[in-house]
Symmetry: C2
Subunit: 408 residues, 2 copies
């Protein structure tokens, strides 16, 4: 399974005696266990920060077959801690892909009809160039030497990938949370390449509260002495405790109060009474600790800093004189905006603001608020109404674009 490490990561391993798990981290960044397209020094990728990345690579997965007319491509944009492994076993965790309920043969995003693409975002840690990639200037991982990235950068990189794949217009682009931000950016930056857009559980800008939660997570990472000012890969340490705390805090925001109550209530762990200790006394504590611990096995701490920052910076209207409708002026893209009643991280009013702007731009838009107690994470979970809406919207888009009807 494991590809041989590239020259960069071999050098790091040899020169710096990087511990095995960190060489694995660098290896997944350089030689991802997925498809990858590499651009050499002659094809730099320019970031909003004004810096060029070269070499530059994009790791991605595809599912299904591109039709001869090249009209059935669906791009999926992943969320903050997601990656390109949408619908295959994850190479690091061995777990199912993060959206297997949504994407696959016969699923709402049906890989027997559509050619599905998902790329790891720029700044990520699963094979697209990011802070754990090798900086050609030093031969060592970038760390904090990596330039800041934006949601616009993520989308521009995906456009480069589509050019490489020879895909002009996407049938649809879909994603939730940070993935939804990318969907909106896609529709604004490349309206001619997006036939249909599915932003789910998202917003056109990060709220002060959301920025605040992200900042606490970043501070937790940076407070860990093993973070080493971002140089942990070089120094053979890992800010595991800080990153786990960050994940625990973020995880609470992904669930609703009701979902936590339903799943855990105030039930004690393995006992009936309090222990008067600081062990995980309540089941909810044990659950959160598990979430923190498993996360650090698969995610790079610096990527967490860069990607949370990108979300914080996201403010689509700001690029259009503060008028959100201008981002969609003259668009022919058809939109389906989806929110969840119990999502308090990206609550329904954020989606309504998108819909209002699209209406103001005279765009074709439908909107669904799905009644669920599962919170923000609902977009990743088994939500029959979500599945039905996505399936129906895609079928309608496919029909409008002249694809053959689905076999039922």
């Amino acid at each position: 399974m494991l590809g041989s490490p590239g020259p960069g990561s071999q050098m790091v391993e040899a020169q710096l005696n990087v511990k095995p798990d960190f060489s694995a981290r660098v290896q997944e960044s350089e030689q991802p266990r997925s498809q990858v397209v590499r651009f050499g020094p002659e094809q730099p990728f320019r970031l909003d920060a004004g810096v060029e990345l070269a070499p530059f690579q994009i790791a991605y997965q595809t599912y299904g077959t591109l039709n001869p007319e090249r009209t059935n491509a669906v791009l999926i944009c992943h969320a903050l801690t997601g990656d390109q492994h949408v619908a295959n076993t994850h190479p690091v965790t061995g777990k199912p892909g993060w959206w297997e309920t949504m994407v696959g043969p016969g699923r709402p995003i049906d890989t027997e009809r559509y050619f599905v693409i998902c790329a790891n975002v720029v700044g990520g840690c699963m094979g697209t160039t990011g802070p754990s990639s090798i900086d050609p200037a030093s031969g060592l991982p970038y760390g904090l030497g990596f330039p800041g990235v934006t949601v616009r950068d993520m989308v521009r990189a995906q456009a480069v990938l589509l050019d490489h794949l020879g895909i002009g217009m996407l049938l649809a682009v879909a994603g939730g949370s940070m993935g939804g931000m990318q969907v909106l950016q896609w529709a604004a930056s490349y309206p001619e390449r997006v036939f249909a857009a599915l932003p789910i559980a998202t917003a056109t800008r990060h709220s002060a509260q959301n920025i605040a939660f992200h900042e606490v997570g970043r501070q937790a990472v940076m407070a860990d002495p093993d973070w080493r000012q971002g140089r942990y890969l070089l120094e053979g340490t890992s800010p595991r405790r800080g990153l786990a705390v960050a994940r625990m805090g973020a995880h609470i925001t992904y669930l609703s109060d009701a979902a936590l109550h339903r799943k855990f209530g105030r039930r004690f762990q393995d006992r009936d009474n309090p222990t008067f200790s600081f062990d995980a006394d309540f089941q909810v504590e044990s659950y959160l600790r598990h979430q923190g611990i498993t996360f650090v096995e698969r995610f790079d701490a610096n990527s967490y800093l860069y990607l949370t920052r990108a979300m914080d910076y996201f403010d689509l209207a700001a690029d259009y004189d503060g008028v959100l409708a201008n981002a969609f002026k003259g668009t022919k893209t058809r939109f389906c905006v989806i929110s969840f009643t119990s999502d308090w991280l990206f609550p329904t009013p954020e989606s309504r603001a998108i819909v209002h702007a699209l209406n103001a731009a005279a765009a074709r838009v439908s909107f669904a608020e799905i009644d669920t107690d599962k919170g923000h994470d609902a977009f990743l979970l088994d939500e029959p109404e979500l599945f039905a809406i996505v399936r129906g919207f895609l079928e309608s888009a496919a029909a409008a674009r002249g694809l053959a009807a689905a076999r039922r």
Copy 2:
């Protein structure tokens, strides 16, 4: 201002070369700059955990004068990170008392009419026995050797203080958040000593989400290597970074999304554009960092662990066969329950549950939900409607108890 350190803290300083700030922490625990009552080995204080604390001390402040009939005493219960310094300059921070808008001459809780008492809770760090106090068995700070505490313990200690002060029945007991939990516990444990009760922005039990947020805070503290398994006072370190992260995260839950938006929105700090760095780019980040940094100057990390745990354990109905109304059976106390529309930590339904239980117990109860965007922290802030309700409720209670009417 500074009292001379007691023998215990001198010993620690001499033997362990504790750094000045930590000897100051032990000193405030042993020789608080407030009133204090000390109980010797012959008067142990028994905790719910089944352990006896001896010696045991309670640090407290009083304001106003107890009338000859001893009928005008109002007990104030402080919240998680509050203390006895309700309405005087804080001896550590030099800032005003935490409830000076509410308590003082002519204020809603009028110290010209009422004799106001507030004690530091057991497990605290401002002079009532807690984890930074000296364990007589070792002559060193308890640290994690301190037994677990409960809200019931806090209330029982306050009852001991009232016995010492010769006060039988309180005119009123009032408090918000963890203070409100103590108010409810007071009414349940000592109904004959509580003429009127004012639980504000509170609940009869901590929700799974609230436990989850507390657990993240505790993990942030315990992840800090300078926490040293709770032995930081002995080892001359301080888990400042971990405690600051815990405070930052908690602080978000004290404010509403709307309040954060109103105060900070997405405004950048000292500039117009993103820096693409991990400095505090947004004003909200800078604000939170400030909250974290100032908190660690005045609060003990282990106290934070113990007191958050006490809140998590609080479940009033559990002591009454799961039937909340039984906690108030036959009560003659008059209640005024107050919540705030934008408080998502202790939302209005929690207060309604209190009111329903009181109704089921045929208690005298009024309820007010105050419309504000200030979130949970509203109980500490300038809220004219809150002031008017508290003033009116106390005046009515005072009249019912035969106190002379207020001079207007």
